[in-house]
């Protein structure tokens, strides 16, 4: 069964600091997604990673994928308050997609 674990589940960080969110999954997959969700809102797609070693960056966020370790990371550089949200990873295999529980990120001044 495809299972996805994220950690940490809660993250409080100061503006200007760096941090990494981890996403581990249990079986081989063919794609990995990162999403952002603001309170009471829908999910916004951040990244889609398809192959081993894939790295994508958008602004202060960078995502990477290691399919051999079944691990993806979302790295936050020099955090700003606007990045406060819940971040989900999701792993796809065939037509199935499983989500992690989410990391609730709070960036404090």
């Amino acid at each position: 069964e495809l299972k996805v674990e994220q950690n940490p589940l809660f993250l409080s960080m100061q503006e200007g600091k760096n941090y990494t969110i981890y996403c581990n999954y249990s079986t081989t997959s063919d794609r990995l997604y990162w999403y952002r969700q603001d309170p009471g809102k829908s999910l916004e797609s951040l990244f889609v990673l398809l192959s081993n070693g894939a790295v994508k960056q958008e602004g202060r966020l960078m995502a990477s994928l290691d399919t051999k370790a079944r691990l993806s990371t979302l790295h936050i550089t020099a955090a700003v308050h606007d990045l406060s949200a819940t971040y989900f990873c999701a792993v796809g295999r065939n037509n199935d997609m499983r989500f992690g529980a989410g990391t609730r990120l709070t960036v404090k001044p």
Binding site: R31, S45, V48, N95, M97, R98, G102
Partner: protein, 113 residues
């Protein structure tokens, strides 16, 4: 620029009632999905469809039914609502093939009392 549209946005149901959540997309996507999100949790796949006339169960299908008579529409029906179905429901769509972005609707907040 509608994307994925869900209705209603909020609904309160009594135990045992039935209702249909509507979902339509205008991007000509062949894949459509229904997810539920319980408070503080990730999304769980209820049903999905790879094209008109084709549907399949996801991780948590019990208590729900779907149909896909057109490419645009993918309604989710709740039969005999139970408190355990209190959740936020998200419809989503994507183009066929791996690696394509999945677009989500705004969500439907359902409470069963």
């Amino acid at each position: 620029n509608a994307g994925v549209t869900q209705t209603p946005k909020f609904r309160i149901l009594k135990i045992g009632q039935s209702m249909t959540l509507q979902c339509t997309q205008d991007m000509n996507h062949n894949y459509m999905y229904w997810y539920r999100q319980d408070p503080g949790m990730g999304l769980k796949l209820i049903y999905y469809s790879v094209g008109a006339g084709i549907t399949d169960k996801g991780e948590v299908p019990n208590g729900y039914n779907v149909s896909r008579s057109t490419t645009e529409d993918f309604p989710l029906r709740l039969e005999l609502a139970a408190p355990s179905q209190t959740s936020v429901y998200f419809c989503a769509s994507s183009l066929q093939g791996t690696g394509n972005t999945i677009y989500f609707g705004e969500g439907s907040w359902l409470t069963v009392v």
